[in-house]
């Protein structure tokens, strides 16, 4: 018995029609050209990361730049390739909650064990 049949049986109001087994797309996914463009951006950002590694600069600035570039790559893959930009927000919340807990665990470990990130 499907959920809509169960609702009818219980006399519950009918929900508006929704596509069965919806994959949760809020917006249309990008096309191959856009994916390729993002791939080029990712390759360039990686090259910049490696280039920066060899530059002689202040350690704090180097760390900030590398983490910033890494976050940019992370966001591009998660938002476009994993479609979180276009899909239902339930998926985003599940993933971001995991990321949040991971960061929290790290901060708790850092304060408990003692030590430095970089």
């Amino acid at each position: 018995m499907t959920l809509s049949e169960l609702r009818k049986k219980r006399g519950a109001p009918e929900r508006p029609a929704e596509p069965a087994a919806d994959t949760g797309h809020r917006e249309k996914h990008p096309g191959p050209l856009e994916y390729a463009q993002i791939g080029v951006v990712l390759a360039i950002v990686t090259a910049i990361e490696v280039g920066i590694y060899y530059l002689d600069m202040a350690h704090g600035l180097l760390v900030a730049l590398l983490i910033g570039l890494s976050l940019l790559k992370f966001s591009l893959v998660v938002l476009w390739f994993m479609h979180l930009k276009f899909d239902n927000r339930v998926y985003s919340s599940m993933f971001l909650f995991g990321v949040f807990l991971a960061v929290l665990i790290f901060l708790v470990a850092l304060s408990t064990v003692g030590g430095k990130l970089v």
Binding site: A20, P32, I38, L42, I105
Partner: protein, 208 residues
């Protein structure tokens, strides 16, 4: 499956979302905790080794030790895995447009790039082992091999999933209406890639 939703083979859900995709995102959320803990352990302990070898150049007890990391080699590995994410998403775009042949080509390319990455990791592990680094040699060795070893295992599982999808598509079991199967495999693959994006920066590029 008498009451299966038309065309999908899966039941309607109370959220209106496909349970398989929901489960995959839940799994990936839990994987964030798994890898987050391993990365945190590495960062906390890498500089507390009581003896060599060390990840980067270091003077220990008055002796200079050369670091183990080979940044140019790892950069190429990172680039290979990053590009495999592009080919994976192109495979998904192809099957969503109903182009099964193109999907097969991109899936195969992704699996090959993944295999290349794992081969590179095996080579790196061998070099490190020859230099005296092992799971039990020091804290750096323990945390490094556990972290990157688990990541490599994930990539290997991903390659097996891709090859399974490829075999299924050759049997005609992956059609346009089954694109969610490719999407789920893609989500796993991209996750493995983003984990490496973080590892590459925090473990390899940023040194204390």
């Amino acid at each position: 499956m008498e009451h299966a939703a038309a065309g999908s083979g899966h039941l309607e859900t109370s959220t209106g979302l496909d349970n398989r995709k929901l489960l995959m995102w839940l799994f990936l959320g839990s994987e964030c905790l798994f890898f987050g803990s391993l990365i945190a352990a590495y960062l906390l302990y890498r500089d507390r080794s009581l003896g060599p070898p060390f990840p980067s150049d270091r003077v220990f007890n008055g002796v200079h030790y050369e670091g183990l990391f080979d940044i140019p080699f790892t950069s190429v590995s990172a680039f290979v895995l990053l590009m495999s994410s592009v080919t994976m998403v192109l495979a998904l775009a192809a099957i969503q447009r109903g182009n099964r042949r193109s999907m097969q080509v991109w899936l195969l390319t992704t699996a090959l790039l993944g295999t290349l990455f794992v081969s590179g990791q095996a080579y790196e592990f061998t070099v490190f082992h020859r230099e005296g680094l092992s799971l039990g040699s020091n804290l750096f060795g323990t945390t490094f091999f556990v972290l990157t070893g688990f990541h490599g295992a994930h990539v290997t599982i991903g390659v097996l999933i891709l090859l399974s999808l490829l075999a299924m598509s050759f049997q005609g079991r992956i059609q346009q209406k089954d694109s969610l199967n490719v999407e789920l495999a893609g989500l796993y693959w991209h996750f493995v890639d983003v984990v490496w994006i973080v590892i590459f920066t925090l473990v390899y590029l940023i040194q204390p």
